[in-house]
């Protein structure tokens, strides 16, 4: 579980296994989203406070919030 709080992805870097389902939860006071950095290959819808987004991940990925573009996170595959 990656918690979005205080304008950060917590943890900002997470090591997962291939095929793991990663869940983000927005515990911040405002909207966020999760968008793949390199080619915008995928993105969540806008996550209102309290909402979650889950995705099965097979490859290492850098992602960011397209609303707050300086918010960045990283998934590494073990």
């Amino acid at each position: 579980m990656i918690v979005i709080k205080s304008m950060q992805f917590q943890p900002a870097e997470l090591i997962i296994h291939k095929g793991d389902t990663v869940t983000w939860i927005n515990n911040d006071f405002t909207d966020h989203d999760i968008t793949e950095v390199k080619s915008k290959a995928w993105h969540s819808s806008i996550l209102k406070p309290g909402k979650k987004y889950s995705r099965v991940m097979y490859i290492a990925t850098d992602y960011y919030c397209s609303i707050h573009v300086v918010m960045k996170g990283k998934l590494k595959v073990n």
């Binding site: 205080s6 304008m7 950060q8 006071f29 405002t30 909207d31 707050h68 573009v69 300086v70 918010m71």
Partner: protein, 171 residues
């Protein structure tokens, strides 16, 4: 404990030395916090009307959403605490300065507007972060109001970083 020197520093920063001995009560802190957020929403409204730059428009939309969310949080808290925000020298000074800035922004167009808007956003967020850290939080006595102010600092820092990123692209 009141931090008169901090208030003086803030007001010197905002060019109002005549109120240098001001200190703030919690209702006055709440008023300043709401005014500071409302002002940036109004700047964003001007940007959304005048700019055609995608980076500026996206930034302005984020400012509108986030500062409205802060105002909603503050409104909920002051209702819960039964506090009525009270107009004061600092909020009046903020609003008077904002009126001048709105006139300046409305007089510009095109890339000149984009530059003026984002330059102002960088300067404004620096000033607001400084004011929240060094004036509003130290002046606040109620812990829940203090926590709310502390909680919005990461958003203000993120806005400043975002504004500086757009500023580099505009230049």
């Amino acid at each position: 404990m009141k931090h008169i020197l901090s208030v003086a520093a803030l007001l010197i920063c905002w060019s109002l030395p005549s109120f240098a001995q001001t200190s703030l009560t919690d209702p006055e802190v709440a008023s300043v916090a709401v005014a500071a957020n409302q002002i940036d929403i109004e700047y964003a409204g001007i940007a959304k009307k005048k700019s055609k730059n995608t980076e500026i428009l996206n930034f302005a939309e984020t400012m509108t959403k986030d500062h409205n969310a802060v105002i909603a949080q503050a409104s909920d808290l002051v209702k819960k605490l039964n506090v009525t925000p009270k107009d004061n020298a600092v909020s009046q000074k903020l609003n008077n300065d904002a009126e001048q800035t709105r006139k300046m922004l409305n007089a510009k167009s095109g890339s000149e507007f984009d530059k003026a808007y984002i330059d102002n956003e960088v300067a404004y967020h620096k000033a607001v972060i400084d004011a929240v850290k060094n004036l509003l939080i130290p002046e606040t006595e109620n812990q829940q109001l203090k926590d709310l102010l502390t909680g919005i600092l990461p958003a203000l820092d993120t806005h400043l970083q975002h504004a500086e990123m757009v500023q580099k692209k505009i230049k």
